[in-house]
Each structure stands twice: as C-alpha cells, then as structure tokens.
Amino acid sequence: MVAIYHYDDADRTLVRERVAQFRDQVDRRLSGALTEEEFRPLRLMNGLYLQLHAYMLRVAIPYGTVSADQMRVLAAIARRYDRDYGHFTTRQNIQFNWIKLEETPDLLHDLAQVDMHAIQTSGNVIRNVTADHYAGAAADELDDSRIYAEIIRQWSTLHPEFSFLPRKFKIAVTASATDRAALKVHDIGVRLHERDGAPGFEVMVGGGQGRTPMIAKTIRDFLPEHDLLSYLEAILRVYNRQGRRDNKYKARIKILVHDLGAAAFAAKVEAEWAEIKDGPLGLPEAEVARIRHHFQPPAFRDLDAPNSLHVAKARIDPAFARWLRINTHAHKQPGYAIVDVSLKPVGGIPGDATADQMDALADIAAQYSFDEIRVTHTQNLVLPHVEEGALHAVWQALGRHGLATPNVGLASDIISCPGMDYCSLATARSIPIAQAISTRLADLDAQEDLGVLGIKISGCINACGHHHVGHIGILGLEKNGQEYYQLTLGGDPGADASLGEVIGKSFSAGGIVDAVEKITVAYRALRTPGEAFIDAYRRLGPAPFKETLYAAA
C-alpha cells in the first residue's frame, strides 16, 4: 500500500460532484447563460486561470505526495490537453499552461479517477497545505508531517466559515528540526516538536512574501496535539473578522499581525480559543490514529547488513559518486535512501517536466520507491524510499530521461516563477534569466565548491519565485518598456529565516547574470573554510558584495 491518504467515499463523492457541477457551469458559460463576470469566480474556484496565452489549470498535490498512478495521469493530461509538459511549482502543485476551457471538465474528470482535483488552488481560501517533502522518510524527522497536514486539509476543505477570507491563506507543516517547507514565509507555519516525550506544535503566524514580505512570528511555543484544529480555527476567526478587506494589498494576515503586534494578535487568538478549545474541534487520539493509518510506512525490507553495492560503484564512477553526494539524503530506515530528482537541467526551465519524464518517473517509482513521488517547494521531485542497493540503477534510469542532474541545493538549482513568458501579471521574464545563470554556473566542480546556494527569481513583486528568501534573490521589473532586475542578498527560507536586502541599483538582463557570477567570485574570496554563502553574508554584511558589484562602475 502506498503511504498516501486514501480517499473515502465522502471525499470521492465531493470531488465527482464538483466535476459535474463545473461541467454544468462551463456549459452555461459557453451557451451564454453565464457572463464572464459570473463565471470567473467559479472557474477560479476550480483552479482555472486565464493567463497570457491560454487557460492555466493548477492541480492540487496535497503536501506534495503523488503516487505513480497519479503521475501517469498527470502525464496523460499533459499529452491529451496540453503540449506534453507541465510545470511543478513552489507550492508543491502542478500547473498546465495550455488548457482549453471547453476541455476542462473532461480533464477534471480524468483527474478525479485518481482522486485528484483543483479545488482550493485559487481564491481567498485556505490553499493546498504544504509539508516537508521528505516526510515519512527523513532520518531527522520526529514524525510524518503529512499526518497533520492531512488533518488540516480535511478541516480546511470547503470550511463554510472560511470560504471568503480577506485574502488567500497558506499553511505549511513540518515535523523535524530542519525546516524544508519555508514555514516562516507562510500565513501559518506549524512545526511539530516534543516536550517531555509528548508531541506538540510551535505555531508561527504572519509570514509571507509578495509585495510586503514578512517573517512569521511564533505565537505559541507548544500547542498540545489535541488542540491543533481549535487553535487554527481561533487564528482564522480573528483574521476573518479583523483582516482588512478594504485593501487587497493589506489583506493578508501578515499585515494584521504586523499592525497589531504579535503579542496583541496572540492575545486575541487566545481569547477566541478559550471559547472553543473544549468544543467539537478537539482532536481525539483515535482520529489522529485513523489518519496516521493512511501514512503507514511502506513494507521496508529488513536490511541490517546494508547493501554496499552503491559504495563500490561510486568508487569507480565519479559521476555516480557526485550524484550520490548531492542528490541523495539520509533515510530513517536502515539500508534506504531518499533520492532528489532534479528538474533543473543546465539551461532548462526550472520545474518543467515532460509527459515522457513523468511516465518514466512513475515507472521508476513503481519499481524502486514503493510507488511514491514527492514534489518539493524548490520545484524538484523526490523518490522518498529507495533501497541503497538500487541507487545505481535508479541513477541510470533517471539519467536516461535527463533527471539526474547532480545539483540539488546548489547554484543551478534555481527557483523561478513562470514570469512574462506565461504569466499575465509579470513585469519581466524570469525563466530566461534562470537559464542563463544555470548555464553560466554550470561547472559541477565549481558548484560543489560554492556549496549550498539558493538563487530564486520572480517576474514581479508577487514573489511566487520566493526571491525574498533567496540567498541571491532576483526580481524582474519593467521601466520604460525595458526589463530590469533587482538583486537582493541574504534571504533564507530555513529555520533561521531572513529576508534579502536590496543591494543597490538594478541590472539589465545581461548584467544580472554577470552580477550573480561576481557575487560567487567575491564569496569564494571572502569565506572562511567551510563557511556557507549565507553564513558569510551574515558575517560580512552587504558592503564587500556592493563593492564588487558597483566599484569602478
């Protein structure tokens, strides 16, 4: 059995009814019974946007977990309804770029066959809940964060009180000391930890990116498991009542938390919570156990004597050795590894995968990873449970499909939003910049020497490309019809999150690539042995980097 939440009949009925309802709405739109003004909110509720070139459909992948069968359906959809590819996003979703309105009901019907949908991927609701992409596999985790993400998903799906929030609302969950889900730039970040052997949550509120980036504030250090939903409900109620509806740009919860101050906001939440904490939202242990049952670990083999085939192979094949070093991660089960699948080939489009690649991944996951695939917020994929003895075969299989670029976490593992090549809100292109930078910094030895370096690019201030939390962040803007790019340094999405600072005047499309390269050169010269870029930046501040970029200019 795949460790994935299995829909019960109620979930299934809901999704199917929604498809039938949308089919009817599309018919009425095409026949003229509905105007665009009437129809637009209905299509957005089903994840269908109108973008630069066509309709775009955003499909929810709850906490980034996809089965091999679901991936095959995504591939089939790419072939049948799109142009043979899809785009994996920083919200662990997938977007299809070339969708026809008239075909969307059939597409949603195909998705529903594998329990997938596009509900709550748009609009002022609680969006797809994201989680640690290594959940259920990472050696350093306390628990499987998807259990709590799923509990939150069930509570938030079609929640009647919260279907017209002041603005969209994003929740992320982790259950390990390492933050792989960028908790502190979410409306709510929930981190499971332990106190005296009992599980509880740190609750962070009011983070976000967009035009007013903010780091979330912790308003509760330790919330008992039982109280998770009642406490979230209290936060949402305070926000729903007091969040600003008069100004779209001030409507996110981050503004409310900022304006009130975290302590005052927390006091309001506590007051609200006092009223409901003993009510029906209490989370009984039995319910947690029921959900946990859906996330049973797969049937791992007992591998007490680890198979060291991969170690021997790595000794004679440096390319394989490099991939092992960079694209695999410690698993909690002895003899297994987590495999990162890079969707960032040199010069490629970050996050794009072709239908053939999706099918290949489904096959590889079926053969080697208990049918499971994950989508990461860094726009890569993961095979969460691979036996170490199979790593060489997996590497070869991935390599045949261009999926074994050994760069996860390195400079060419760039996050980029679609930018002006696809997005109607863009002020500049972002993909070509990502392509030019990954080409410029392609040398793998040099990248490994640079170490962990997150370059993140957005095509407008909405910051879908996470540039505020890029070690090197790039924001595409427009002035007098020209694209230009603002550079920020020192952002970080992790447990010690920070927002990047604008470093100086902006660059042209060509100039930004040179600028990024100059920063890497300066960092190499300035670092102490073993010091990561972000640590060097925090120690040195912007001055030496400014000097490299703007001196003698």
């Binding site: 739109r29 095409l30 665009e36 070139h53 309105l101 490629g348 794009d352 090549d421």
Partner: protein, 97 residues
Amino acid sequence: MTTQVVSANRLDNGRVVYLAPSGQWIGALSEAEVAHDATAAESLLHRAATAIIDRLIVGPYLISVTAATGRPQAERLREQIRATGPTVAPAHHDRAA
C-alpha cells in the same frame, strides 16, 4: 495617439486573438485591423463588445503597435510574447530551433 489593435482571448480555448478587418478574430497580430485614431480605436472596442455578447472572446483591450511596414507589431514586450508565444522552449523541443 499611438496606433492600436484590439486583442482578447478566445472564450472556448483561451488562445490570444486580434480583430481583423474581416470581422474575424484571428491569431496573427500581423493581420489585425489597425486603428490610427481615437475614433477608430473606439470602434474596435465596440465590435469587441459585440464579440463578448456572441461568446467569442473575453477581456478585450487595446494594445499599442507600430505599423511602419503596414503590418502591426506589438510595442510592449508583454504583447510581443502574447503574439508569438513564450520566448523559452519547453524541454522536449529542440532549443536551437
């Protein structure tokens, strides 16, 4: 007053279209009807409003073009990209092409 054409997306499939002198909504910007003054632009928008009622298009708006060669070309990058598609080729396409 710049020269303008009217653009929109088709309702049924979302594709980018322009109003042609024939009254058809077509994919080629180069064949679109060009308005050289405010009255002509107004008339383009008027005909677009009819096309909305006829459920052909959504979201019509005027875009600035240069028509020095007689064939309109979009002024702004955004409209150039709408007219000719993404400037980046997806992975399975030959990038040199």
